[in-house]
Amino acid sequence: MLSAADDRMVAGRAIDGDIAAFEVLVRRYTPMMCAYARRVLGAGADVDDVVQEAFVTAWQRLSELEDPAAVKSWLMRVVGRKAMDRVRSRRPVIDIDEIDHPAPSHRGPVDAVETRAEVEALSAALAELPEPQRQSWVLREIGGLSYEEVASEMGIAATTVRGLLARARKHIIVRMEEWR
């Protein structure tokens, strides 16, 4: 029954210390958070670690959540931050050269679900982007962060973020036009 309750109820109880309610949140939002982390991190096996750490942090910091109904977007922020922490620990400084050289092609997330060809094209185009472009796009368009927040997560200026986003969008649009 608790598993069918809305976010406000479930998160409210988790804030009060109800572990069963927290477990409902874990079940409800693990796929969403894994999907987002995977887009931020790119290829690699860190996704599980990052998302689990994000949930542990979320438990500790749940009392900071002012509006229990907003737990979904709050969790996205927590995992986005964890994913970028992981990115920074791999490679502390954004490599400027990489901004202009495309990343070696690697496969995007495994496609076990049939979707429209256009969506697949977007998925593939994203996966091709150099890491800084991809991350700026993912943080902004999937994570919903403001330019300033993206800048803060990536450790670069907001103007640089705008430039990265413009390049990312151009690349995606051009590739998708080619595939039409």
Binding site: L2, I19, A20, E23
Partner: protein, 107 residues
């Protein structure tokens, strides 16, 4: 874990109504089933009872989970009395700091 702490643990667990012992910073190792509301205590060899010995006597700190058929007040008092008896047998006094951290659902 010291022999004394182990004895205190056993004494507490034997008290009617006590269903588990916890230590500070306990993590949840077993999944909580909301339906049965069972909370499985962490299994390890680190003592869940903290005993501090001084010249005047001892101080014992423990955290317990209780069932709901008896009152938490009565159960806590019973644990306290049993632990005091343990020390009184040696002619020693003891200060007991006991915290009930969980009351299970109806059984």
């Amino acid at each position: 874990m010291s022999g004394l702490a182990a004895t205190i643990e056993a004494t507490a667990l034997e008290t009617p109504g006590v269903v588990g012992l916890y230590r500070a910073g306990s993590t949840v190792v077993k999944i909580i089933s909301a339906a049965t509301d069972r909370l499985a205590p962490e299994e390890d060899t680190v003592s869940r009872v903290v005993v501090t010995e001084t010249d005047e006597g001892a101080e014992v700190e423990l955290a317990i989970a209780v069932g709901s058929s008896l009152g938490a007040v009565e159960i806590a008092q019973a644990v306290r009395d049993r632990v005091r008896e343990l020390f009184a047998a040696d002619g020693r006094s003891v200060f007991i700091r006991l915290t009930v951290v969980h009351v299970t659902g109806d059984r």
